[in-house]
Subunit: 421 residues, 2 copies
Amino acid sequence: MNSPGKYITFCLILAKYYTARGTIDMQMLENLEKFTRLKRDVAQINVDPLQRGGILTPEARAALVEWGDGYSICDFCAGMLDHIRNPPVEEFVHSILPEFLDIDEVRVTHGAREGKFAAMHSLCQKGDFVVMDGNAHYTSVLAAERAGLNVEYVPSSKEPDYAISSEGYALAIERAYEKKGNVTLALLTYPDGNYGNLADARAIADVCHDYGVPLLLNGAYSVGRMPVKARELGADIIVGSGHKSMAACGPVGVLGASEEYARIIFKPSATKKNKEVELLGCTVRGAPLITLMASFPTVVERVGRWPEELENARWFSSEMEKMDLVQVGDRPHNHDLMFFLTERLYDISQTAKGGRYFLYREMKDRGVCGIKPGLTRQFKLSTYGLGRPELEVVLNALSEIIESHEKDEKGDKNEKGANGS
Amino acid sequence: MNSPGKYITFCLILAKYYTARGTIDMQMLENLEKFTRLKRDVAQINVDPLQRGGILTPEARAALVEWGDGYSICDFCAGMLDHIRNPPVEEFVHSILPEFLDIDEVRVTHGAREGKFAAMHSLCQKGDFVVMDGNAHYTSVLAAERAGLNVEYVPSSKEPDYAISSEGYALAIERAYEKKGNVTLALLTYPDGNYGNLADARAIADVCHDYGVPLLLNGAYSVGRMPVKARELGADIIVGSGHKSMAACGPVGVLGASEEYARIIFKPSATKKNKEVELLGCTVRGAPLITLMASFPTVVERVGRWPEELENARWFSSEMEKMDLVQVGDRPHNHDLMFFLTERLYDISQTAKGGRYFLYREMKDRGVCGIKPGLTRQFKLSTYGLGRPELEVVLNALSEIIESHEKDEKGDKNEKGANGS
């Protein structure tokens, strides 16, 4: 497709095949070249919480090239993805991951949401109730909706803490009972994806267990970032996200369950004995799984460095507050994902060139992206994996932007004042 | 992790974090290094039908490196994966793919099986019947089982043709009716993954439509290899596989539907208005989607070269038959995936060193892999994308192996005969 001659031949061949809609297809084909050389347009420092934990290690990047082809990991499959020995998927899935998550059984999934759906779809009956925290990710709600379940929320304590309590779970279960509901699952987002709050999972698990309800821990923002041991936290089921927090190429995730629930979630097919129904036989049949494996030693290492990450996050939060950018959620904060109320930036946006997009543009000019374009009054970001020097770049960018605009504003006012007097 | 000093520090940090199970974790960690530098151990020519259509283009391989990080395609997402404009996912999903598949609506999925499940789960009620060809891939059966559906099979004509007829669909639907079944979907595997048979999809669609049953075409082995136009074939729903046949990194696939069914399959959530329930909001949120896009111009081009591929496949089949390796299924064959009865190789395996694994080993010594290790009496392979010179390597390897063993065998017999006389 690189030489014009080849391109013309290719167009001619196609014209032959699409005679009926010839002109349309020729147009379609002329548009395709742009898909071949797409470049990612991001700044050097990306503080989007979605992106911070998914940056590949050099080993994972090399693995992508080595294992990129379609079904590459299936060359030596004897029928079950999780039992492939070459590459060593079996050891990774059946020894390493259960140890890492501290749970009986683990499988690889397409991501946290697919793991949640698999658990809900297999453990609950249509019409049942699932109880979940009011801070839950939208995919938990969608997974429940797809499985035909009713959702009873545990409301958060609202601004500024947005805290989720174990008592809230008891009350939500009771409310579902009042509706004659059958509560077959509880879910806790750990931490939630808005405020980065880490609720007391152990206390919540205890409450759920008192009602005989298993607890699913959504660890999309924790597994691979910080130590998470399902057994210690009382979680019966746990999901993690490779692309969100395990330095893997998406889509890939993990789904763990204690023996009691694993038996149901990973039930083999009635007719295809070595295929698990909820996984449709196998899930990640390609390179993303190898990136999960290739990054894993680094992931284990960084989980060990969590106190350092936490210290950076808290320091960043305190520096933000010096600029009157106020962190909400847990205080002191226990996670790298933080939500800030930034009224000062909103005020600037009222007169700034580009309106509410000024912040995105001006941050990007300073090498920082990841705050959603258009947001100025409040936003979330993550400090994960960024050292102090990089966090200083972010802080200085914000400080410079604020100062330059407020100086202009002051200047304008003084000018107006001078003119008016 | 490269210098010993760093490795020791890393172990010490970890030891601190896993004091309770210190020794176990230290062992676990020592084992992790091997996951970082995994190499794919395949021969130069891989005739596994699973692998032939999924080999990346150079553009797709470059895209993997550029877009490898976790959620890379989501930097500029405004809430819906299929409407992302940078990279141009929206144009690809909403203009290019519907044109390519000739169907109203298309979405990206994790693969063909996930597309089949999404269609079954949304279009059928638990307990309904799905009618499918007896040659169906196991994942169609699993998708039905996961969706709680009963399967009524359309049996094939058995050896040597394994043909699926449109009359068979009428009979299967009638049988389901006799069981008081509600038939809400029919599925045709086009071609099937064992024999590479292409049934008369149009005739089957007509029969199904006479009964008011929509037809789902499983094009995992056709979409991206050969021209497939859903509307022409009468398919109401179509699935394709990026890793199997569209030169993409797995897992990724496409799911198309005519407007009538798209409305149901891609229904938005009741509470999260811009999220589609069956897709759990979004599916392939990572590099595999970009590889699908990067390879697409080449895929369109190769689909245009299908007659050449077919000619190669038929020539290969005729050369195989000169060695008494008999092709079953459609004759003349209409697809690159072919199934051979190879009694002659089975006979050799009875005395060969390594028993039934001799073939795999000896083919690999000659630069060819992809025939399942241990198979000798019958196997499938694909000629897709292999030119005559490469196909000659495969044929010569088989011929050499047969000749060398049969010569030995003959020599042994002669020797025994000479000794005995």
